[in-house]
């Protein structure tokens, strides 16, 4: 979404310079190496450190984290994460150049999901075996750099380059394996932001499936809610980063919508869809000049 750029620009900047004093429960990266201990992400990947703090500290951490996850859920992924922003830039660069990327491929997503589980295990467990996730986290390499602090390359930088290049060819490739993202997604049932579908309006065109950077097929295949209802079916999954691409590419009125507390904040609209693709009509006037000579031959 276009909106994501505006928000993410701010997100990137803010995480870089403004919030260095506040303990943010979730944002994906420590902003500068001095403030490392204030980031939520740090605590998750260093659970051993967390458990040495007092239990008040632990409760505060998990409490604020859960509040954040319920309030925003993976909207943080879709709109606020700076690494997401970097990947979106790479994707838009490819779109502008019309270069072919990696197209939808079920096998690829199966592999990526496996990598995600591995990453999750490493992320949560590496603290206990004496390693440090931040050493090779690509976000740790790029976020301080964007914030204006020194660029620290090394293993993290190497992974960052891989993330950017693969993000160029496949939309949001890192989000497919991001462990923090998945942890945020676990609360999707309680989250205030949900993705709702109207199965009757849906023509099953598959555009949502093709557009989804996370390869979620259930949004395309679900036809009935759990209680048999046909509209307002909740199709949010833990993988969904709430980027809104599916809603943007949906050509049927009301078939898909992102809702906040049950109210639609972004709804699929046929005329808006058509305006995306319909050019100025004069562009195709050339044939109209031949009209008189051809029609009455």
């Amino acid at each position: 979404m276009i909106l994501s750029f505006a928000l993410l620009i701010f997100g990137s900047r803010l995480t870089g310079t403004v919030f260095s004093n506040i303990q943010l429960p979730v944002l994906a990266c420590p902003y500068n190496l001095d403030q490392l201990t204030s980031a939520g992400c740090y605590y998750f990947s260093h659970l051993d450190v967390l458990f040495t703090e007092g239990w008040q500290e632990i409760l505060a951490f998990f409490g604020t984290f859960i509040v954040c996850a319920v309030l925003l859920g993976r909207v943080l992924c879709g709109f606020i994460c700076p690494l997401g922003f970097v990947q979106d830039i790479a994707h838009e660069a490819r779109q502008a150049l019309h270069i072919e990327g990696v197209s939808l491929n079920e096998k690829m997503y199966t592999v990526l999901r496996l990598v995600k589980w591995i990453m999750l295990v490493i992320f949560l467990g590496i603290g206990f075996v004496g390693g440090n996730f931040c050493d090779f986290c690509p976000a740790a390499a790029i976020s301080p750099a964007l914030a204006g602090f020194k660029l620290s390359l090394g293993l993290g930088g190497f992974f960052m380059i891989i993330v950017i290049v693969s993000g160029f060819f496949k939309r949001r490739s890192f989000c497919n394996i991001c462990p923090l993202g998945y942890i945020l997604g676990l609360t999707h049932k309680a989250s205030l932001f949900k993705l709702k579908k109207d199965a009757v309006a849906c023509t099953e065109c598959g555009a949502c499936y093709e557009a989804c950077p996370m390869g979620i097929k259930s949004i395309f295949t679900v036809r009935e809610g759990k209680k048999g209802e046909l509209s307002k079916i909740d199709v949010t999954t833990p993988d969904c980063i709430m980027c809104g691409e599916c809603v943007r590419r949906c050509p049927e009125n009301n078939a898909l919508a992102i809702t906040f507390c049950g109210k639609k904040v972004y709804n699929a609209d046929r005329m808006k869809f058509m305006k995306q693709y319909a050019p100025k009509p004069d562009k195709y006037a050339p044939f109209l000049n031949h009209e008189k000579s051809d029609k009455h031959e």
Partner: protein, 430 residues
Amino acid sequence: MNDYISRQGSAEDRRKARFLNKSSTTAIKYLRKIEDLPHKPDALKPFTDVLKHVFVDMQGAVKPQGVPSVGTYCVMIPPELIYAMGAMPVKLCGGSYTAFNVGDDIAPRDACPLVKAIMGFESIGVMPVYQECQLMAVPITCDCKKKLAGYLAERRNTIALHVPSGRDRDEDMEQYVRELYLFSQKLTEVTDVELSYERLSWACGMTAAAQYELSRFIELRRKYPLAIKGTHYMAAMNAISYTHISLWTRYMHDLCDEIEAKAKRGEMASKENRPRILITGSPIVFPNFKIPLLIEEMGGALVADETCMGERGAYDPPAIVDQSTDGIMRALANKSTRPCTCPTFVDNKRRVYRIMQMLKDYRVQGVIYHVLRGCLVYDYEYQVMEEELGKLGIPIIRIESDYNEEDVEQLRIRIEAFIELIKYGKGSSK
């Protein structure tokens, strides 16, 4: 016509002359019936002119000079690809009774009349819109299309596209993307134009403009279902098959403007008390307009149709997710098959949902399920439709018809009875 007969007197030539004569007479008759229906919008004239140009004046499709035409037989062949390769698609599904009679000798008795008409046109070889096609692209959907592809391949440059029978598996869609690439190679042989992103993007933009106008039109009809008679609307949609899409867009734009102005003034094409009917099933191809005309004549209002020569002819837009050649090809493959409600697919539940949505949108009171004699796949789905509509309390009847005018009176009685049922019977509460 008299000069023609006296100049060339062989039996074959006389047969062709009779064919042309009868065919154009039928077309003139139905065109006149369509035009004589009251409350015809002025902006409908260009559309009926296209139909006249092809079926009465016996000229070819309306297209720029030098652009080859490619015959397609289905919605499942994306017109965008053909435009991108420098040709023009012409949807050649046959609706002519005269051609049907010729084709009756070639195709088996129980075959569908649409395919019989196509075979008839091919065998008699006098219609320019068929003769001038440099390539025939036949999607292999139902049995009749399969054998049609074989028949055409013996006589013309033909390509068969293997449409997958299921659409939910990713492998099926990958197969169809490959088929489209093969199709584009065949098109390159005909037109010497290579597949490129710029041309695809241009073609998609052109058809997007047409679909924008069509969507505008559909939104207008959802708000004011009675603003235009269904028969007129179906004539406009039939015209899309034989004319260049940029022209059709312009005509549709004018039609939308006129209908919008009329609707705002409160001028409706049909009275409020007319039962609103939806017609679904086998395609209704010009000049086989018996049933829409009968519905309007017998006091009903045809407000919507779920047929592939009607609204479905250009309804589904390609959702281009990735701006590259492959991205556009994938979008075209998806849009041609996935939302398609053709019963030739294994699972067609989406058709039930689509009709349910249309019932809501147009406030439909009764459904006429049209089955062409020999079209088994649509017939199979009648049971499901009857059940689902029974749950919603909407009356539905099955009308079987063929390509001749002998059953008009029988159809008239049945349609009249159905409309009375809705008006005074169960559905009258609306």
